[in-house]
Symmetry: C2
Subunit: 233 residues, 2 copies
């Protein structure tokens, strides 16, 4: 255990800064990590971040964009493959959802999921021009592709609902992935029976929850007090 990744002492300063910032941003968030912490871990001078990247914010943008671009590319191609393999039929919804969730919980490169989750949280809580650019460039095409796949899998669900449900799926996985190990509210509530640290349990719970939520019948039916006539199932 302990500190997973460290900094290659041979690599050039800019690269060292990127990986150091990646680790620290994932662990504590960008606001909570100072430039001096980053340069200390990267073993470079304080001025390096401004010299190589312009500003701390620009460094953050570079860090986030690097992993978001890569993971989005991977997911898009995986999604395309699934849809293509399905041919005339419909792709497996659970597999589609899994391909979305997996990168957030993956064992290789623990940080990438936390990093993406933290970015999405940043953008949705305090958006700015930098986050908007990255979202427009990498995350919006991804979202559109997944909603399109959901339309194939769930032809009975109104498209407007699918956008909502996509957002709710994202919310679930993002918060699960970004949660601090010290909080682990789930472990507290379940008295240790489960924990967010249990990646396998997290995957199962998230996929099950999202698939059920995505395929739910018309949401308006659930207004409290409404009598539900049994539909033609």
């Amino acid at each position: 255990m302990g500190l997973k990744r460290t900094v290659d002492p041979e690599a050039p300063a800019a690269a060292r800064l990127l990986t150091a910032a990646e680790v620290l941003f994932a662990r504590h968030g960008v606001e909570a990590t100072s430039v001096r912490q980053i340069t200390a871990m990267a073993q470079v001078n304080v001025a390096s971040v401004n010299y190589h990247f312009g500003s701390k914010d620009d460094l953050a943008a570079a860090v986030f964009e690097r992993t978001i671009a890569r993971v989005s590319r991977e997911r898009l191609s995986a999604l395309d493959r699934m849809v293509a393999e399905a041919g005339e039929g419909v792709p497996d919804l659970a597999a589609v959802v899994s391909s979305f969730i997996e990168p957030y919980l993956g064992d290789g490169n623990e940080d990438q999921g936390v990093l993406m989750a933290r970015f999405i949280l940043m953008h949705r809580l305090t958006p700015d021009d930098a986050t908007r650019r990255i979202v427009a460039e990498h995350l919006n095409p991804l979202a559109t592709a997944y909603v399109a796949a959901f339309r194939l899998c769930c032809p009975d669900v109104p498209v407007g609902d699918l956008f909502w449900r996509y957002m709710l799926m994202v919310s679930s996985v993002v918060l699960t992935s970004a949660e601090d190990r010290d909080a682990d509210r789930l472990a507290t509530l379940s008295q240790g029976a489960t924990s967010v640290a249990d990646r396998s349990a997290a995957r199962d719970a998230l996929v099950g929850f999202a698939v059920a939520g995505l395929t739910a019948r018309d949401a308006a039916r659930f207004v409290p007090g409404t009598i539900e006539p049994e539909p033609d199932v």
Copy 2:
């Protein structure tokens, strides 16, 4: 529209600070609002917050605890009422879920939902002694009560899964409620068809998603590639 709430110029300084901080914390978060902004809106001296509350963090704790305590009390009694009215039968799951979600989207007091959501985000992303105390005192009993109600409504779902699904429901509603109006990713994706600002649509989507997610059958079935034998339905 415009600024909904302002500060009663007759109220004592401590109360004025509380309401001003409530508004600003909901709007920008506690980190992003300075003591000087608060005292300016409250029209009191900068030193007041330290004099009356000890520190900015203590003021924040007071602000959050006030509304969290009140809303949790209301929800607990509503839940008790539902369970009692159900008697030997099971309470209506959609109604139970609605009673949890409603306070986050309520029309009266726009800020209370955002405030609670922001607090939960704070605790799960960067927990500290202050948030832990409030969670233990007010939120854990609430969570336990709701999970207990869920056990009544969904006797077929393993209890461990119910804890997970409770957490995922909370994640969905919290992120929906705390989202900045300027981000509104949903409006972007749906090209304006829907928006997080549409409280009615939000309620329907959230309740539908959560109810379906909570009642989903065994999550492990959704591992990709697994062949699903049709269960005895």
